[in-house]
Amino acid sequence: MTTYWINLVECQRVVNDLDALLEDLRTDFDKVNGNAESIRESLCSAEESSQYEYKATQLDSAVDDFVTSDLTDHFNGIESALRAKVSAMQDVVNYYASGDAEMAHQAWGTTDQMPEYVYPGSGAAHNTTAGDGYVPGHPARGNTEHPTYVPGHPAQGLAGNDGGTGADGNLGDTYATQQPFVDAEAARD
């Protein structure tokens, strides 16, 4: 049987931390325009040869364009992609937290795509200690009436380095609701 799992508390914590980092993301980049102004002040002399003044003009535009257009667009692209991805992840957390996952699960009348909630405080992959023992509907696999809370979720399938979930990839194709992470960037590709 295939199971999915999510640690809502930790996922929310990571999303919050990401938001905090995004807040400060521009701090250093915002200084770049000032740097570019100073660079441009050094490109031309007070007295230029009229014969070659156009070269000074072209150089000035090239530096200006590179910083205010190329670099800035490039940076803004990264920043907005990050915001979209973090926001998509917030949607994922909301999706599982709101019970939509359970509803979708019941609507499809199936049992093996239900996310397993790693109970708050139970830790994740590296913590196999049992949680506080609240296990509604447990053992619930196959139980269509309740989401499956698994305190102290065992580490199988969670190990950080295994590169996969052990999940059956076909399932996701069949039920879009099981792939709540909507990456706007990727979708555009």
Partner: protein, 470 residues
């Protein structure tokens, strides 16, 4: 043109034969070299600010990788790999800044040289007197009789005109040279800036050397790394200290990553910009964890670091504790995350990739210092790997410069690109010759093309684990 400052273009035609000339069309005007060197610090700062931005982004990528532990939806792989493209784009930000700074440095050397300024100054001190004499000559020519003129000048008008022309000629040539040199420097700068392609720079390169792809599978393996390490050669570690350090470095084998390939293998940006496996001896997070663990240790924190301290730090205080301990961030920041500009400057001196080696030079004493720096940069690397890596970088540097280079220890490194037969994908690129006896000590064989020592993203994603480790 958008003027960056209040400096106005005083349109002055440069040559004496033009009517608007400052020297009454009689003497050449020399263009003022641009104050390019005053833009050197801003150009460097621009690069450093972009590097700091890149570090902020790296921190985000690492943090994102934590979802690996907390999210197991069917789209988990999509979540984990969704940062991959951005990792390359983030790197391009910094590399674009580096290229701009480099282009500016070239402009400084070409357009703001002392030589050009000297020409300008010579011209300006000569021209007014010359103009005066020339105008007097013309006045005399029109007002004096031939006898009077020859009496005053000692020869006829034609000869005097020729002499004045002769005096003026070198100044005219030099003035023209200055204008041309500055114009060419601007062409070069403009072409360099226009040539910076942030899209191309976003293509990641993945190191394929063993030290970059072999990942610690156990704490015992990390202990072995420490025992084999060049860095720890000079320190006597007890078995329990080794175990303690290894435990804090290995941390259960769950290594932060920025990039996940198709096989789910995590990668991070190595110190010289190429991607290395998370959990390899080149993983900067492991390096940081190691130094921080040492800084927490009562004995090790007092050990001196065998490299020069950053500016403003007394060498006497330059211990692992002060460099990497809590509340002191210069070194740990430089090796890890959240670099400030000062930390960056220091790190850029510490880093010894092929490019840095060229600018640093690699003769005798410098070569020794380069090795010391690499020892600190990669404290978990074995003596053997460090040596190989050093030679490899030296080789790449020699390839790039085509230079014959003294490598220290009385050895000279001769570029031999065309001199020695080669076969297959490996090419003999250099011979090492004993400076005293002239004997060939050995050949250096390597691939010329960097693409043969690294992978691109597509290649990495197609590699099985077995292929990855060659």
């Amino acid at each position: 043109m958008v003027k960056a400052n209040a400096a106005e273009f005083h349109t002055v035609l440069p040559f004496y034969h033009t009517r608007e000339d400052v020297y009454a069309c009689l003497a050449p005007w020399t263009q003022e070299p641009p104050p390019a060197s005053s833009g050197s610090a801003p150009a460097e700062d621009l690069h450093l600010n972009l590097a700091a931005t890149r570090d902020r982004l790296d921190e985000i990528f690492s943090l994102w990788s934590e979802f690996r532990d907390y999210y197991g939806g069917a789209d988990r792989d999509q979540v984990l790999t969704s940062m991959n493209d951005l990792v390359g784009q983030a790197m391009a930000l910094e590399e674009g800044g580096a290229l701009l700074a480099e282009a500016h440095a070239t402009y400084v050397s070409e357009a703001d040289s002392r030589g050009l300024a000297q020409v300008k100054s010579d011209n300006d001190s000569w021209a007014p007197g010359f103009v005066e004499r020339y105008q007097q000559f013309e006045a005399d020519d029109s007002s004096m009789s031939r006898e009077e003129f020859e009496g005053k000048y000692g020869h006829d008008v034609g000869t005097e005109r020729a002499e004045l022309d002769k005096e003026r000629k070198p100044f005219t040539t030099m003035a023209s040279h200055v204008t041309q040199a500055i114009g060419e420097a601007r062409d070069t700068y403009e072409a360099s800036v226009n040539g910076i392609d942030l899209g191309d720079l976003s293509d990641l390169r993945f190191e394929n050397r063993n030290e970059a792809v072999d990942v610690a599978d156990s704490q015992e393996e990390v202990e072995q790394w420490i025992r084999d390490s060049e860095f720890f050669n000079d320190y006597d570690l007890t078995p329990s200290q080794i175990e303690d350090l290894a435990e804090q470095i290995y941390q259960g084998g769950n290594f932060d990553a920025e990039y996940f390939d198709a096989e789910g293998r995590g990668w991070v940006r190595g110190p010289d910009g190429r991607m290395v496996r998370a959990g390899s001896v080149m993983d900067p997070n492991l390096t940081e964890a190691l130094f921080e663990a040492m800084a927490r240790d009562d004995t090790m924190k007092d050990w001196e670091l065998p490299i020069p301290p950053p500016e403003g730090v007394d060498p006497v205080d330059w211990t692992i504790g002060t460099a990497f301990g809590q509340g002191t961030s210069a070194a740990s920041d430089a090796l890890g995350k959240g670099l400030d500009v000062a930390g960056r400057r220091w790190l850029s001196g510490l880093l010894m990739g092929p490019a840095a080696m060229i600018s640093f030079g690699f003769k005798g004493k410098d070569a020794g210092e380069t090795k010391e720096r690499e020892t600190v940069m990669y404290p978990l690397m074995s003596t053997e790997d460090l040596e190989q890596r050093y030679n490899h970088n030296l080789l790449m540097a020699a390839i790039e410069t085509g230079a014959n280079t003294a490598v220290g220890g009385g050895l000279t490194f001769f570029s031999a690109l065309s001199a020695v037969p080669s076969g297959g994908s490996s090419v003999v690129v250099a011979v090492i010759v004993d400076e005293i006896t002239g004997a060939i000590i050995g050949y250096m064989v390597d691939e010329l093309d960097e693409s043969m020592t690294t992978w691109d993203a597509d290649e990495v994603n197609e590699l099985s684990d077995q292929e990855l480790h060659g």
